[in-house]
């Protein structure tokens, strides 16, 4: 039993960690909200992103009160909830996703729906359908370690943590120690979808983190929206995460594979 679990964990962990060994940089992670713009679009968008060559996909689990998100993602969350999206529906939609795509999949969302679903049941479902990691911004490190880490480990689900320009070096070291896969590096003090652009302060922060020689790879997110910002991120990290800009594309064009491909190619430049 024990060894079987360990094996599972190794297999699971590999899809995210493998991506970093197979490719040394310019990794692109694209976020979209499950069930958006239409309830049935989740799998089409996912397949579109794989075909377009995204290195990771991050599926947003919609929530009524997404405090770390700006207007674009908030609205996509509301729309998805109105469409009838829930964790139960999402796991149904993803039931045979591993026969269709091989791209590493992360689920991103807020802790309350996961708590109501049941943390263990959630991790078990993630493992069952082939989700590799999760990002839960309002589950901070200490509460994760106190209450949930053994369950995540048991099911081989990587929990990805965020750091920001205000995170102290000591805390970054602590987060690095407990992270597997990658560290989500929030580019500036902001919610998602900010348009503040690249500042000297931001570059100084990127340099500071680079110099720390962390054991985990880093992807930069928040404010990455096009080829220019993607290239900038690639100079300082293994790649980047795009969210709001892609949500705007889906809002305008729906789950159109051609448009998705053009978007991803455009970002890669």
């Amino acid at each position: 039993m024990e060894s079987q679990l360990v094996d599972k964990q190794a297999v699971q962990a590999n899809r995210i960690t493998d991506a970093f060994t197979q490719k040394s940089g310019s990794l692109l992670n694209v976020y979209f909200t499950a069930g958006f713009p239409n309830l049935g679009d989740t799998v089409s968008v996912l397949e579109g992103l794989e075909q377009a060559g995204a290195d990771f996909v991050e599926i947003g689990m919609p929530y009524s009160d997404p405090v770390a998100d700006g207007e674009t993602i908030q609205k996509s969350n509301m729309q998805a909830l109105e469409n009838g999206m829930s964790l139960t529906v999402l796991f149904e939609q993803l039931a045979d996703i591993r026969s269709r795509v091989s791209v590493p999949i992360l689920l991103m969302g807020y802790i309350n729906p996961v708590l109501q679903f049941g943390v263990e049941r959630f991790c078990q479902k993630c493992q069952e359908v082939g989700v590799d990691g999760v990002i839960l911004p309002d589950l901070p490190l200490d509460l994760y370690l106190d209450e949930h880490e053994p369950i995540f480990r048991h099911y081989g689900i990587l929990n990805i943590f965020l750091i920001t320009p205000q995170t102290t070096d000591d805390r970054i070291r602590l987060i690095d120690e407990h992270s597997e896969g990658f560290i989500y590096m929030v580019s500036s003090a902001s919610i998602t979808g900010s348009t503040s652009g690249v500042s000297d302060e931001m570059l100084a922060y990127f340099d500071r983190i680079n110099a720390m020689n962390l054991r985990n790879a880093r992807l930069i997110g928040f404010g990455i929206k096009d080829s220019e910002t993607f290239q900038m991120a690639n100079k300082y990290a293994s790649g980047a995460i795009i969210g709001s800009a892609f949500i705007r594309l889906l809002q305008e064009n729906g789950a159109d594979v051609g448009k998705i491909t053009a978007f991803v190619e455009g970002v890669r430049g």
């Binding site: 009160d65 139960t88 309350n112 911004p137 205000q166 003090a189």
Partner: protein, 398 residues
């Protein structure tokens, strides 16, 4: 030797929990701000110079101590002795200012230049705008766009005091959404801004810090009741609960006095089961909102339910973690009061005692006849605010 531990503690734990409720469920973006506050709030509050400044403001600016008034005609009607703790006589007209004077002094010690706040009824927004004017700090208040309409006088007061009032247009456009927007603002401005939360909600240390600033209410009740009746402890302390700050303040020094029943009045809106209610303990289950684990109105999928109450200050789908613990442990008695019951109680107090209460407060008064009190019982009601802001609503029932 066995050491007998108390069964339940009502003090916050090191990690910010009351029983299983509380904690700090915050995104990493907020961690440095909340951690800065957590590391410093007790030391700052314990500093004699801080206490001297706070006490001077409470006395000369807020107008404390507020009276404890024996409401004789109401007592006759209710069939027990009822005292009113007159928080409505605080400067700005509600208990909210006890917290904002405290937090603005903390913000100054942390060298913050700007204040952000959420508000429901507008009382906390007004109390925040007031202390910002006093201290010369910039003030931004988020308020649900529905609440801006139903509490228009308070919007004008905030603007007159120099605050920027920003409508929260997402979700139910009430207190929950205003709180989301204030948190987003804080994420976007982490270094120079302090977030003055208006109730005993939010991530640790807010619930504890706000409860401590409001605890002056029960501190005064104890001495005043002793002077008037020869006993410190009433049989009941009664307060309305939105997030629960006036209740936390009124309960604070009685938490460990089991002979004192702690009575909380929640807003039932059109009725607990009507689908238009904010009766959190009746309808909710454990969940995480605005940084703490508490009792929360939510769907089976964990989406937060949009609450309803005629009272903007009680129109919130959660309660502070201390209150969730009081409810769960049986230490508190929770009553659900409908819009109509509250309005009637508001009119009753106006006619019997010449005091027009806030609609929030009227919910606490409406609990009195439901408590099965004996004639010898003594109840203290926290009269959390005055009703001037609510005249547009009351006048529909005239």
């Amino acid at each position: 030797m066995t050491v007998l531990e108390p069964q339940t503690s009502f003090e916050v734990s090191n990690k910010g929990f009351y029983g299983s409720f509380g904690g700090a469920f915050i995104p990493e973006m907020l961690y440095p701000n909340v951690e800065e506050l957590r590391r410093n709030y007790l030391a700052i509050m314990g500093d004699p110079a801080f206490q001297a400044e706070l006490q001077a403001l409470l006395t000369d600016y807020v107008g404390r101590p507020t009276p404890l008034f024996l409401a004789e005609r109401l007592s006759n009607q209710v069939g027990a002795t009822v005292y009113l703790k007159r928080e409505d006589l605080c400067h700005t007209g509600a208990h909210k200012v006890n917290n904002t004077v405290g937090q603005i002094l903390i913000a100054k010690r942390l060298n913050k230049q700007r204040i952000v706040a959420e508000t429901g009824a507008g009382q906390h927004g007004v109390a925040t705008a007031t202390v910002c004017a006093l201290m010369g700090l910039e003030c931004i208040v988020y308020m649900g766009s529905i609440d801006m309409k139903r509490q228009q006088p308070n919007v004008d007061r905030m603007r007159m005091l120099g605050a920027t009032v920003v409508p929260a247009t997402s979700g139910s456009q009430t207190l929950k959404d205003a709180t989301n927007e204030a948190m987003r603002h804080w994420i976007n401005n982490p270094v120079d801004t302090h977030y003055i939360i208006g109730s005993v909600v939010g991530p640790h240390p807010y619930p504890d810090m706000v409860a401590r600033f409001q605890s002056v209410i029960s501190e005064e009740i104890k001495t005043q009741l002793l002077a008037k009746t020869g006993r410190e402890n009433p049989d009941y302390v009664v307060a309305c609960v939105g997030g629960g700050s006036n209740a936390a303040g009124a309960f604070f020094h009685y938490l460990h006095e089991p002979s004192v029943r702690l009575v909380a009045a929640e807003a039932a809106g059109l009725g607990v089961l009507s689908g238009h209610s904010a009766a959190t303990t009746a309808l909710g289950k454990p969940g995480v909102l605005h940084g703490s684990r508490t009792i929360l109105m939510q769907t089976d999928d964990g989406q937060v339910t949009e609450p309803y109450s005629i009272s903007a200050g009680l129109d919130y789908p959660g309660i502070g973690p201390l209150h969730a613990h009081l409810f769960n442990s049986g230490r508190g008695d929770f009553y659900a009061i409908t819009d109509d019951e509250a309005i009637q109680a508001g009119f009753q107090l106006s006619k019997l005692e010449g005091i027009i209460p806030a609609i929030e407060t009227a919910h606490a008064l409406a609990a009195l006849p439901k408590m099965n009190m004996k004639p010898s019982d003594v109840a203290v009601v926290c009269l959390s605010g005055r009703g001037d802001k609510d005249l547009a609503i009351y006048s529909k029932y005239l």
